[in-house]
Every structure is written in C-alpha cells, then in structure tokens.
C-alpha cells in the first residue's frame, strides 16, 4: 500500500487558530450581553454590522492580493467585534464602517494580512474614527436609556468620567457603579467585572498569558499613583484612572493580540509596562480624553526592536548557560549500517 509521508512529530496538539479565535469571540459575547442590557438591541446591530463589514473587507482584500479567503480565519470577524466595543453605543454606522475599513484595508492587509500586521487593526481603525469624529466618538449615551436603531439628535449624550478626569475634576460616581459599568462610557469598556471575568477565562484557556495584562495594569497604576490628576485619596485616584476609558478592555483584548506583541516573557512584560505607562502618562498631555489606543499603536511600532533585544538577551543567556551549549551527540558513521536497514 502507498502512504503519504509526513514530517515528525506525528501527533499534534488540539489547539488551533480556530480555537484561539473562537475563544476571543466567546470572550466578547458577555460584553455584548451587557451592552444590550444597558443600551438595548442597537448594540447587537452595531456588532453584526462591524462583523459583516470587516469580514467582507478582509475577504475582498485577500482576493485582490490573489489569495483564497480562508473560512476558518476569524481574525476579520474579531476585529469587527472589537471595534464597536471601543466606541460609544451611539456611534453612527458610518463611523463603524470607516473604522473597520481603515483597520482592515490600511492597517492589516497591505502588511500581508493575517499574522503579519504590525499595528492592531481594531486599535488603528478606532483611532482613525476617534480622530475623524472626535465629537461623536467621545459623547456617550446614558445607561438604561434604550437607543433607537438610528441615533438622531433626540438622544441625550453626556461625557464620560474620563473626560471629567481629563478636566481635573473628580467624577461624582461611586466605584461600585464603575465596577458594574453603570456609567456612560465606551460600549464594552465600562463593565469592569465582566471584563475581568473574560480575562480570567482567556487565561484559563491559555489563549492569553498572564504576563502582559498584569504588566500593563501595573504600569498604568504606577504612573497613575505617581502623577494623580484628581485630589482624592491615592488608591481612589488610581481606581478612577484604571476604570475610566479603555484601559481594562485594552488589557483584556488589545494588549494580548498575539500578532502585534512580543514573544518572549521579559519583552512581553516590558511591552505591557511601557504601554500602560505611556497611555496613562499621555492622558495629562493629550487633547483627547482617551490615549490608550494611540499609545498602543506607538508601542506596536517598537515591538520589533523589543523582540530583537529579547533575542539578544536569550542569546547571551544561552552563551552563559552550559547545559544549552552542548549539542546532542552525533552518531559516528560506523553505526549507520545498523540504521541502514530502515532507510
């Protein structure tokens, strides 16, 4: 009988790209449930719209590049799911559309598509939308007010705690509401408890590691502790800083994007810490109330430097470590005759 040969190993782990992407999709679903609970079914419409647009754009770009779109590749859908979560629930469809198009057709596919993009597509698209429509991107609806499918001027829009923080005032919201997400803010970024549950789920599933989110939140809280913006007790100020804006959802989804993050552990910690510190530090300087996405994009550009530096470090450690230096014993040619029967 004739069989097809195949290189070792002959057993493979069950994890695959599909399972990892499915984990992330599953992790976003509770956020959409909370959004529906707070803002009505418009959240689902936005999510579905984003998914459809980005998946179609992904497939179209791959066809233009002469590749066959892969059904199992859910990365475009994940981008489309994340973009509405980073924007207010009252965001217009055109905003979602342009954000998804920018993310896919500018930040992802020209770089070679899946697995080769330097910048996180969701972050780039949302940043583009924020810069193009700052007014509507930073005005949020009030929870428990059902939004119509088409948002018009009758909807009451308010500013988020992050804005009052950027003005230097203490938001008069108690922390429990912020934990539960009962505050105006980005559609998926406010309900902290659900986000932390998603993070735990992803870590248990080993889809993401613990290093980067921990380092990210650590760096953010360190800078927030050193340079407080509100005259509150230190820990309260830190809690406000962490729970306002997109920091936590970034710690769950955007930081852990495997494509645009370093690979080794020490570089991961460095990258997460730098992103957190940068995004909180530039809340003082920047004009926009939210600086996390931009800080993330800037850090994405430095990932290659960090990675090469990590390789240098590992190289030096291999040099130092005697156990790794010894190569496996090569079998002398005299013994090939025994194995020759197999060949």
């Amino acid at each position: 009988m004739k069989l097809r040969t195949q290189n070792p190993p002959h057993i493979r782990s069950r994890e695959s790209n599909l399972t990892m992407m499915t984990d992330i999709v599953i992790a976003t679903l509770p956020l959409y449930a909370m959004a529906v609970y707070y803002y009505g079914t418009r959240a689902l419409l936005l999510g579905g719209f984003g998914v459809i647009v980005s998946s179609l754009a992904d497939g179209a770009c791959q066809l233009l590049a002469g590749k066959i779109p892969n059904i199992r590749d859910l990365s475009g859908a994940v981008t489309g799911l994340l973009i509405p979560l980073l924007l207010p629930a009252s965001a217009g469809y055109s905003m979602i559309l342009l954000a998804a198009l920018f993310g896919i057709a500018v930040a992802k596919q020209p770089f070679g598509g899946m697995g080769q993009n330097i910048f996180n597509p969701a972050a780039a698209g949302t940043a583009f939308a924020m810069i193009c429509w700052p007014k509507s991107a930073f005005a949020y609806p009030i929870p428990f007010e059902r939004l119509p499918a088409m948002v018009d001027d009758t909807v009451r829009l308010v500013s988020s705690p992050a804005y009052s923080l950027s003005l230097g005032g203490t938001p008069n919201i108690d922390l429990l509401d912020m934990l539960l997400g009962n505050v105006p803010g980005p559609m998926g970024g406010t309900n902290i408890l659900v986000l932390l549950t998603c993070l735990i789920f992803l870590i248990v599933r080993k889809t993401v590691g613990l290093a980067m989110p921990a380092a990210f939140l650590g760096g953010a809280s360190l800078v927030a502790l050193l340079t407080p913006r509100v005259d509150a007790p230190a820990l309260t100020a830190v809690a406000y800083e962490l729970m306002s804006g997109l920091l936590v959802i970034g710690a769950v989804f955007l930081i852990n994007d495997p494509v645009t993050s370093p690979k080794r552990t020490l570089p991961k910690i460095f990258y997460g810490f730098g992103t957190g510190a940068l995004s909180v530090a530039f809340r003082h300087i920047g004009r926009y109330e939210e600086s996390f996405l931009f800080a993330l994009l800037v850090m994405n550009a430095t990932v290659w430097i960090i990675d090469v530096w990590g390789e240098h470090l590992a190289h030096a450690m291999r040099r130092k470590n005697r156990e790794f230096k010894t190569n496996p014993p090569v079998s002398e040619p005299a013994e090939q005759d025994v194995g020759a029967a197999q060949k």
Partner: protein
C-alpha cells in the same frame, strides 16, 4: 528651576509634538533611500543638530535686527541657505582635520542634512522664541527626527520579514507605516499644526 522646566518643555515639544517627520514629513523621501543602518541615522541626527544649532545663532540675531523690514522675509531663507553652507563646510573641514571621516558623505545625504537643518532653522525662527530656546529647539528637533527615523528603520526591518503583496513592497508600505505611526502620535499629543 523654572528655566530648566521651560527648557525641557521646549526640547520635548520640538522633539515629540512638532516632530519633523511625523508632523511635517520632512526627511520622508530621504528615509526611503538612506536609512541603511542605525549608525547612519545617528550621524544624520548629529550633523543636523550641530549645523542647525550653530546656524540659528547669527540668524536669530539678524532676525531680531531686521525683523520689521518686509524684505527680510525673502532675505531670511537665502541667508539661512548660505549660512548653512558655510557652517557645514566648516564642520566638514574640522572633521577632516580631526581625521574622523572614514568615507565622505554622499552628496545626496549632504542634501538631506542640508534640507533638514534648513527646515529646523526656519521653524525655530518662525516660532519667534528667545535665543536659548530657539537653539534648544534645533537640538530637540534633530533628536526627534533621528528617533523617528530609527522607528521607521525598525519598521522596515520588520517588514522585510513579511510576505507583502507585491505592489506594496518598498515605498508604499513604508509610507503607510509612517502614516499610521503619525496618526498615533497625533492622537497621543492632540494638537499639531500641518504647516
């Protein structure tokens, strides 16, 4: 103390906020050819810093004296060009005398340094700052330019590892890369003036 803080503010704003590459695209076409190594980028930044920093001193004095006249608008840039030429000649001669020049810079690279330092000088003059800040501005701006070029160089190295669509290789993908980076920095800082 206040002095130091204000000087630092000038440095940071010239290096980051009004970054020559990301905010004004100066040096964008030189990047594509001439970022061969990090060492070259460092040389580039140092040369621009020295030339512009030395050139801005007499120009600042001149613009203080003739700032009112209408013809100064025209004379300024011409004077800047000539002064930069003189300063860079002196610099070249000095380095040659010190024996620090292994291989002379290509003319195009010299042109890049020229235009970069010209832009820095003119910008620091249009900002109408005091004397010391305008000198510091030159240093900060060239440092920011060098840093931006290093970022772009790292991006190009990373892009070499990607299997790009064929029509995007080289200049287009680099431009898109710089564009997204400039978007990020714009959003981080908030306010840039596109002139």
């Amino acid at each position: 103390m206040n002095l130091i803080v204000s000087m630092l503010a000038v440095l940071v704003s010239s290096a980051v906020i009004e970054n020559l590459l990301f905010a004004r695209a100066i040096g964008a076409d030189h990047i594509l050819r001439q970022t061969r190594s990090y060492r070259f980028i460092i040389e580039f930044g140092l040369g621009a810093a020295v030339i512009s920093g030395v050139t801005v001193m007499p120009l600042w004095w001149l613009s203080q004296t003739f700032g009112r006249e209408s013809w100064w608008n025209y004379a300024r840039s011409m004077a800047a060009v000539l002064l930069i030429a003189v300063v860079s000649l002196l610099l070249t001669i000095a380095m040659a005398a010190a024996g620090r020049i292994q291989r002379p810079m290509r003319l195009v690279d010299q042109g890049a340094v020229y235009s970069a330092s010209l832009a820095i000088v003119l910008l620091s003059l249009t900002a109408k700052m005091a004397f010391l800040p305008s000198v510091l501005y030159c240093f900060g701006a060239s440092a920011g330019l060098a840093a931006a070029m290093i970022l772009v160089h790292a991006g190009r190295e990373r892009l070499e590892l990607c299997v790009l669509p064929r029509s995007f290789e080289g200049l287009p993908i680099t431009m898109i890369y710089i564009g997204i980076l400039s978007l990020a920095i714009y959003g981080l800082i908030g306010h840039q003036l596109p002139t």
